[in-house]
């Protein structure tokens, strides 16, 4: 049973991140997931200090607020003339530093482990369950990430056309009257929610990887956005299943193995993709030269 729960959680994280990640890769904002997953630390610590409990609802709330603050600050500095990647770098490192200082100032004798908050372990997912009316209804992580996935699917499918246009041609989108800024913040909000919902249970690195690696592999395989999203979800789910068994075989970190498998799939796509793969392009070029 616990195997099933772990794989299910991995697949849910992969699907959520896979959908949102496609838009991030297209809009050249792939590093934002990394930024958010680091900068929520002060939010978590402050929520913990205020509420005094390790109740994950408070922490989730604190993290979500900080996620939005991060996005807002990045946008603010970017608009005032700092390059976008540099403004990402400035904001998330500063917030992370604040978080680390807060942890070492206030939580020395309280049980708030930095590694535990930042690098949640997916192997413990099955034991952290919710009780509803006395009945065990499954792990908390599955519910949290599942809700994030539902929200993502709902928003993306309702506003698919708008998100698509904003990603490919923001100027045109603005010209035809789509509120580009609103959709930007909506997308960033989705990134924030899915990052925060996932990383507490499965670890930051799995989220960051799943936000980028499967979408990038899918980007090499197809020219259509709808197909790219489907491929990205499939690749993400496949790597979480395979990664789990690889971790079982190697006796190593499950999240690490899932990412490594996704990395291998990306490498395969990079080499052998029919349209964009390096091997096929070389082969085509040779064919053209000889003819």
């Amino acid at each position: 049973m616990s195997t099933l729960w772990i794989i299910l959680t991995g697949a849910l994280v992969a699907s959520t991140c896979g959908i949102v990640g496609c838009f991030l890769v297209l809009r050249r904002m792939a590093m934002i997931g990394d930024a958010i997953s680091h900068s929520v630390l002060p939010g978590i610590v402050i929520a913990f200090l205020i509420s005094g409990s390790r109740d994950s609802l408070f922490m989730l709330l604190g993290a979500a607020v900080l996620g939005l603050v991060t996005v807002f600050l990045i946008q603010l500095f970017h608009q005032s003339g700092v390059q976008s990647d540099a403004s990402i770098g400035v904001v998330f490192t500063a917030l992370f530093a604040v978080g680390v200082v807060l942890v070492s100032m206030y939580t020395k004798h309280i049980d708030l482990d930095l590694d535990c908050v930042l690098y949640g372990e997916i192997a413990y997912v099955p034991w952290n369950t919710i009780q509803l009316a006395g009945i065990d209804i499954g792990p908390k992580a599955v519910w949290g990430v599942g809700l994030a996935l539902l929200l993502t699917i709902l928003l993306i499918s309702v506003f698919y056309k708008q998100f698509k246009l904003c990603s490919f041609d923001p100027a045109l989108a603005a010209a035809v009257g789509i509120p580009v800024a609103l959709f930007h913040y909506l997308l960033m909000g989705l990134v924030s929610v899915s990052t925060v919902a996932s990383f507490e249970s499965v670890g930051a690195i799995l989220v960051v990887g799943m936000l980028v690696v499967p979408p990038a592999a899918a980007y090499l395989l197809t020219e259509r956005l709808s197909r790219m999203i489907v491929y990205s979800v499939v690749i993400g789910c496949f790597s979480s299943v395979l990664g789990y068994y690889a971790a079982h075989l190697l006796d190593a970190s499950i999240a690490g193995c899932m990412i490594s498998v996704a990395g291998v799939i990306f490498l395969l796509a990079l080499l052998f993709s029919p349209g964009h793969g390096i091997v096929f392009r070389k082969w085509n070029r040779r064919q053209q030269l000889s003819s």
Binding site: V25, R28, M29, A30, M31, G33, D34, H38, F77, S80, G81, V82, Q83, D85, A86, S87, I88, G89, V90, T93, A94, F96, A97, V98, V100, V101, S104, M105, D115, I205, L206, V208, G209, L211, V212, V213, P215, A216, Y219, L220, A247, L250, D251, A252, S253, A255, G256, C257, M258, I259, S260, A262, G263, F266, L270, H276, I278
Partner: protein, 311 residues
């Protein structure tokens, strides 16, 4: 006051202060080239990518030798730069995605190796992960020496190749046209970044090393339009952050060094955003206010003239 003096009198603290200052200086200098080449987040990616290198170095040697760790981290970092360069050059994937891909796969691989080491029951492994989070206070004099020498070499190379790097940052096409080895210089800057990251990991840790490469450079960009001045200023901001952060950390409240250095750098950044001439918020507000009052004066004069004409 006497508290201050005792801190400065401790030779070990003096060493660490000196080392962190040099570290900030060199990463500020390298970081400003990275900023202009839109590779600010490269430092973050490289710092994460060092993890598998450190693990492999430990697995091969079985000892916790700092020098071996640094070599492993440098090899892994260089491999990461090649990977990022290859992906951006040969596919349609852009640099940011390439960075994120390399960062997460290398770090994921590193975690796999780390758990392997931990599960293999090697009693010597404790502290391997602490190496990655960084704590300057635990540095020995030898470590500081290594860091200082690396920083000096970095500063030396960037001074010698200043003209080349300048051209490469602003107009790589022209640089290629007049016969500079652009690919080599490109890789050289990346390699310098790797070296700076590796040198700093021990003092400030993986995540925050990225800040030392980005924040001083961005702050310096606010003050000037000239590259030479910007590089010098960025180095100065970095050195100031290193010095002040380490000093606050060592005055006894037992806070970790890395985050404090970063917070000082961030404070400098905020000051620059507010107070820099021309680009800063204050000067923009002043400019707007003076433009408004000037317009108002002109309006008054115009009205007066019109009244004269009407008469």
């Amino acid at each position: 006051m006497s508290d201050w003096m005792t801190v400065f009198a401790d030779p070990n603290v003096q060493w660490i202060l000196f080392g962190c200052m040099l570290l900030g200086l060199s990463s500020g200098v390298i970081g400003s080239f990275a900023y202009l080449r839109k590779q600010s987040l490269m430092g973050d990616a490289l710092a994460h990518a060092a993890l598998p290198g450190v693990c492999i170095a430990f697995m091969l040697s079985g000892s916790k030798s700092i020098a071996l760790f640094l070599i492993g981290a440098a090899v892994a970092g260089t491999a990461a730069t090649f990977g990022i360069g290859y992906i951006t050059r040969h596919t349609r994937i852009k640099q940011d995605a390439a960075l994120a891909i390399v960062l997460s796969t290398f770090f994921g691989l590193g975690i796999v190796l780390l758990t392997q080491i931990q599960h293999s029951g090697n009693g010597n492994q404790s502290g391997l992960d602490k190496f990655l989070f960084g704590q300057a206070a635990t540095m020995m004099q030898n470590d500081v020496w290594i860091m200082a020498i690396i920083s000096l070499v970095l500063i030396g190379i960037s001074t010698l190749l200043f003209k080349e790097f300048k051209l490469l940052s602003f107009d790589p096409g022209f640089a290629r046209g007049i016969g500079y080895p652009v690919a080599f210089l490109d890789q050289l800057i990346m390699f310098l970044l790797v070296v700076a990251v590796v040198a700093g990991i021990q003092a400030v840790g993986v995540v925050l090393m990225a800040a030392l490469l980005i924040t001083p450079a961005v702050s310096a960009r606010y003050w000037t339009e000239r590259l030479g001045f910007m590089v010098a200023l960025s180095g100065m901001f970095g050195a100031l952050s290193g010095l002040a952060g380490t000093f606050i950390s060592s005055t006894g409240n037992n806070l970790p060094t890395g985050p404090l250095i970063v917070l000082v750098a961030t404070a400098v950044f905020f000051f620059s955003v507010l107070a820099a001439p021309r680009r800063g918020i204050l000067s923009k507000l002043l400019l707007r206010a003076s433009a408004r009052s000037q317009a108002r004066q002109e309006q008054v004069i115009l009205q007066a003239v019109r009244r004269e004409q009407d008469r």
